[in-house]
């Protein structure tokens, strides 16, 4: 940047003021998001972390968290992609109502979501007796964990996927049709590839939400090591006896989430 005559220096000053005005709130937000995590990480001693890793709750909870979230997210993608496609293309009032309806779980507090799941699928719930007749008892089981994760996480995928499908240029679909491609082919070879970044982003958000799910799981699935105790529940259980173990498990959860989200984003860019 030149510094001598003319208007340039003044504009430089204005630029700096403008950038500072933007930077102040940005830095405050970064601090609000990062400082608590730094506190978690920096106040832990290496021996505490090692002890946390060896905590008896960690292994089973990590396995269960990975298993249930992979199943939940796989289901959300397989069922949610066609749903998002319909929602993006139906321009009727019913379509808009349905779009809002499937977003509702986002605002339901997790513990209430757990009670709602019990009232639907529990022993005394709406569909509980019917399920019991075919030998299915969901509460306190691993499938209940998956169901709770789907309930809280699916809206995050749907939001990203609907937006992504809406941004797909209609003309490209029409052209593909006119060149002889069938509906299936247009969907899989034109619409999905064009929407892929949005689909992947939505899936990553849904996956992160499923991994951190706590309240609905505790209410609907209970807390039993190896069967329904995921990492967030293990953290709370450990918190009752030992803050350092809880912190170590929390750091494991964050590391796993960070690695997987990074991998998904890297994969999506390729």
């Amino acid at each position: 940047m030149t510094t001598s005559r003319g208007r340039r220096p003044q504009r430089g000053v204005r630029d700096a003021a403008w950038t500072t005005a933007l930077a102040v709130p940005a830095v405050v937000l970064v601090a609000a998001l990062v400082l608590p995590l730094a506190g978690l990480l920096l106040t832990a001693s290496p021996s505490e972390l090692a002890g946390g890793l060896r905590h008896p709750l960690v292994g089973p909870a990590l396995r269960l968290s990975l298993l249930t979230t992979v199943i939940a997210v796989a289901f959300i993608i397989v069922a949610g992609t066609p749903l998002a496609w319909f929602l993006a293309r139906w321009r009727t009032r019913a379509g808009r109502v349905l779009e809002v309806l499937v977003q509702i779980p986002v605002v339901v507090p997790p513990a209430v979501a757990g009670v709602a799941l019990l009232l639907a699928f529990g022993r005394q719930g709406l569909f509980g007796p019917a399920l019991a007749r075919v030998g299915v008892g969901l509460p306190f089981s691993t499938p209940a964990v998956v169901l709770a994760e789907i309930f809280v996480a699916a809206p995050f995928f749907l939001q990203g996927a609907v937006d992504a499908f809406r941004r797909v240029n209609e003309d490209l679909l029409v052209v593909a049709h006119s060149l002889g491609a069938g509906r299936t082919r247009v969907f899989f070879t034109v619409a999905v590839p064009l929407a892929l970044p949005g689909l992947v982003g939505g899936a990553a958000m849904a996956w992160a939400r499923a991994l951190g799910e706590f309240g609905a799981t505790l209410m609907f699935a209970g807390n039993l090591t190896g069967r329904t105790q995921t990492l967030p529940l293990a953290i709370y259980t450990a918190l009752e006896s030992d803050l350092s173990a809880a912190r170590a498990i929390a750091l494991i959860l964050m590391a796993v989430a960070f690695a997987l989200l990074l991998a998904i984003r890297a994969g999506a860019r390729r």
């Binding site: 700096a16 950038t19 930077a23 102040v24 509460p139 209970g222 039993l224 009752e240 006896s241």
Partner: protein, 266 residues
């Protein structure tokens, strides 16, 4: 403007904030004494202490009683990390002892006792504690939650009396180890679990949705509730007055109404 300059401005702003954070703050608050008594109470005390708070406010004009009800472990962690409170009432001795060792509370006094009971779903076939293996789904507290620790002690004593087979069948019925006693009760009142072990005081709040069944005295344990003023209490005078109210005949009567039992004489 180049990225480097943007980054430089960011760094500058961050440095200013870090500097502001390092400056000593909080001296301004020490002006007038607080017109508030802050009570940290174990969740099971919530209803009884709400009644006592009204009595206290009636006797001390202009003073407001602010309560923070949570698990004893949570409250202890908050106090260890500098939470401002005047009084701490815990549902078990362990957490109070840890705070006493750390010099954070003054000498504690046991002010109430509570006993675990079995609760079963309305309409259950189970009529006595010995029938426990007949339930399909049993819910108890997590091992490190006080009610879970007591439940394990009771089940261990029962195993010695009723035999290893009884114990094995009961253990196989446990479908969840809940993180607090209210969650245990909720699972039973919602009808999802057939039975659970909770405090007598909690069972009294279930109002017919969960039926209490006494645990035989020979197997049962007594939960002792200690209370203490915090060493750094902003209103040590009010803290002492609160403890005196809790220990008074009027205070003890309120606790008894909520299901607390007299403590066994030692």
């Amino acid at each position: 403007m180049s990225m480097a300059r943007v980054a430089a401005v960011f760094a500058l702003v961050a440095a200013v904030f870090a500097g502001a954070g390092a400056m000593p703050v909080g001296h301004a608050a020490a002006a007038a004494p607080a017109q508030e008594l802050v009570v940290f109470e174990a969740s099971s005390l919530k209803d009884a202490f709400a009644v006592l708070a009204e009595k206290f406010q009636a006797r001390h004009a202009g003073i407001k009683v602010a309560t923070n009800a949570a698990g004893s472990q949570e409250l202890r962690t908050q106090i260890e990390h500098g939470a401002q409170a005047d009084v701490f009432a815990s549902a078990d001795l362990k957490h109070m002892d840890k705070l006493r060792q750390a010099g954070l509370v003054l000498a504690p006094t046991v002010f109430a006792c509570n006993q675990p009971v079995l609760v079963v779903r309305a309409g259950s076939r189970v009529k006595s504690f010995k029938d426990l293996p007949d339930v399909e789904r049993l819910v108890v507290g997590a091992p490190d939650v006080p009610i879970g620790t007591y439940s394990d002690q009771i089940l261990a004593a029962a195993a010695r009396q009723f035999g290893a087979d009884w114990s094995k069948r009961v253990q196989a019925r446990i479908v969840s180890r809940e993180l607090n006693v209210r969650q245990v009760l909720a699972k039973v009142t919602l009808g999802e679990a057939d039975a659970g072990i909770v405090y007598r005081t909690d069972a009294m709040t279930a109002k017919g949705k969960a039926i209490p069944i006494a645990i035989p005295d020979a197997l049962n344990v007594t939960a002792e509730y200690p209370i203490a003023a915090l060493a750094a209490a902003p209103r040590a005078d009010l803290a002492a007055a609160w403890i005196a109210l809790v220990m008074s005949p009027a205070g003890q009567a309120v606790l008894a109404q909520h299901g607390f039992t007299a403590c066994p004489k030692k």
